[in-house]
């Protein structure tokens, strides 16, 4: 169970990290313009899908499709206030990314968020990424798989 539990935690970490990771890449690719259109579409879609799963999970709908996201969220956001703040972040992220996705797909989008708003969202996603790393220490779980002491510098290169 200890090993299976560690694998499960890593799985949960990766499931929820999809939100900041694909969100950041989607924004980066969108700003890069037509040369990265394919990447932008793929990453924006992934991020929106994960936001939907996370929204369902944060509202208490736990099902096989979002079980990893749901378990991760329970560890990261332990109070109602934190969960509510996260739900609001998800909503904003999804709203903005859906506009970007429509634009990437060639649809007419009247009110595209300005670059500054995208930068602000990117910062929010980076902050979420840090929050996830603190709540689910992936490296610690990885280290426990081999029974070694945790590397002191947390650098991954020791």
């Amino acid at each position: 169970m200890a090993l299976q539990d560690a694998l499960s935690k890593i799985e949960e970490y990766d499931a929820i990290m999809q939100v900041p990771r694909s969100g950041l890449l989607g924004i980066g690719a969108f700003l890069a313009g037509t040369s990265a259109k394919g990447v932008a579409e793929e990453q924006l879609e992934t991020c929106i899908e994960t936001c939907i799963l996370a929204q369902r999970a944060i509202e208490g709908n736990v099902d096989p499709q979002n079980i990893n996201v749901s378990s991760a969220l329970q560890q990261i956001f332990q109070t109602d206030a934190h969960r509510e703040a996260f739900r609001s972040t998800l909503e904003q992220t999804r709203e903005i990314l859906e506009l970007l996705l429509r634009k990437v797909r060639g649809e007419i989008v009247r009110e595209l968020p300005p670059r500054e708003r995208l930068m602000e969202l990117a910062d929010q996603l980076r902050s979420l990424s840090d929050q996830i790393k603190q709540a689910i220490p992936r490296d610690t779980y990885l280290t426990s798989l081999t029974g070694k002491a945790h590397p002191g510098f947390n650098s991954g290169w020791s």
Binding site: Q4, I10, P64, L142, T146, G156, W157
Partner: protein, 404 residues
Amino acid sequence: MLLKHESERILDFVARERNRLLPRVRQLGHERSSSSSFVVLVESFFQSLDTLMEKELARIDAIAALQADVASEALDDLFKGLETTLSFFSAVTGNQVDVPRELYDLISWFFELSANVCAPPAYALTSGPELASFDFRRWAKVLFPRFTDLKAALEHVPFFFISIPSWMVPSSRALDWPLIFHEGAHAIENLANFVGPRFPYLPSDWPALNKLAKAGNAQAQEALSTYELTCDFMATYLSGPIFAWRFLKDHFSVSRALHPSYTHPTPELRIRVLLDVLTTQGFKHEARRAEAAINERLGHLTGPAPSPVVIESLRLVQGSYRAKLSGFTEEDYKQKLHRYSRLDTDGLKSELLSKRPVLVDPACLFTILYFDEKCEDKTIAELVADCIRLEKIRRVYQSMGLHG
């Protein structure tokens, strides 16, 4: 290349580890034929890295232009995944010296019995903190989730690591080895998947069910119970009464019998299910023996009643396995003993207690010793391990048409 140095460090690390680890693993393969499938796994892991690493790194480099920190994090994750995997391989290689080859002989014998439902799984035994097993395909999926080609290359062939508590590994604990059949049964069920279709609206993998059960999903808890009871059933159906005896001895406690966990049924239920299996297989006397033991331990206490869904699912799954596999019956036991010697169970037990080997298959060997406290002696357990080895050699000779 923005992250050139970070990529190069990964390539250097893999090259150095290949030079350090691969010769050790190959040497192990020369010394112990039981490790041959583990050697193949490690070699194919390095082969996959040789073929795919440059491509994976180029893919990450492409995203570095869009978000350097995300790309750098991907490289960190890749490095940590590789470091953990190779470190795990190294630990398994190192502790093979502690794992008796007789234990490999026993587990391989068990897997061969299930050949009608799936090819005998490739596996390695390793000492660890607990009795557990996992498929390396899950490891690859979890540790390399973003590296699709690498993950796909590793997902082709199932490979099971069975972790055994270090106290159970030496041949002086050979009487407890049949408890490992439960983990072997997890590997078989993982490949055969008879339980999954009974719960069509749930994921069929144990870890996902575990999480759903933890979140309070009653169906997932029923599915998990069915998995666990199926593995107990397989251990008993194929190897006879020994599993029930050792389970009672090593895993039973009144507390656990009364308070179920969300993943495992209570030990009381597990034993009571096995009593039915033993009775059906003709081991009525052995079933009564185990029943008396559990009644004595529980006294007037009783645990929660089993869910009807679990009992019905288990009945159907047992039917599927029974249709494909021949179980070990009391009739088989008598016939095999008769073919081997004129002595009956008591006579052969006396032989063993007098430190003389008895060359019957492991199911018969363990049944001879069933519920006899005199067999707890360390030397007898070591003799049992020797008998497993000798019987394996006899089988090999026989398959080659050699006698004498």
